[in-house]
Symmetry: C2
Subunit: 97 residues, 2 copies
Amino acid sequence: MFAASLEVCISAGRLGPPSDEAPRNSSGAKKSKGRGKIRMRKMEKDTNMLVTFSKRKSGLFKKANELCTLCGAECAMMVFSPADKVSSPSTIRPLTT
Amino acid sequence: MFAASLEVCISAGRLGPPSDEAPRNSSGAKKSKGRGKIRMRKMEKDTNMLVTFSKRKSGLFKKANELCTLCGAECAMMVFSPADKVSSPSTIRPLTT
DNA sequence: AGCACTATGTTTAGCTT
DNA sequence: AAAGCTAAACATAGTGC
């Protein structure tokens, strides 16, 4: 395992264009519910940002697990938190040969 | 960078329960459009599986990029393809200090 | 093979508790 | 701060070209 077919992605910070258009909506009033189109740039509010980080990290790990399960792929990923916290996903698995 | 707050996920193969319920639908007829709830186990058809791998890998990289952008996190990921192909995402970035 | 479409399942931002 | 909710945004399996 871990031979030949390898893909790597290392991303440090911004990787896509900022996409600065699209305010919350045309009238400027906030939507009451739902997600509300997000702006692809660093979130300014720290509390929201940490919650979003936690949620999205979970989603990312879940997607990675699904990819492995569905396609018989193998993947490894590391996420460096913006805050000074250490944690590991519950589904961690040792890299056995 | 790359200090202190670190999270690691290494997944080799299956990580979740198979979730064997839910055939396509009760009558056995395929849905004509849309996604149709997928079964979380290795896809048997190789052609579909490769397409799914490609699509989901793209989605995974995109999500990782979004996480980095939105939250100022840093992440690295490696995906080992089930087939013998090598490719890299277009948004690859060197790990500069 | 690879791209476009689209209905539907999934994710998640903002709220509430 | 950490869970749970909801609806809008998003991802994507199957399809057609």
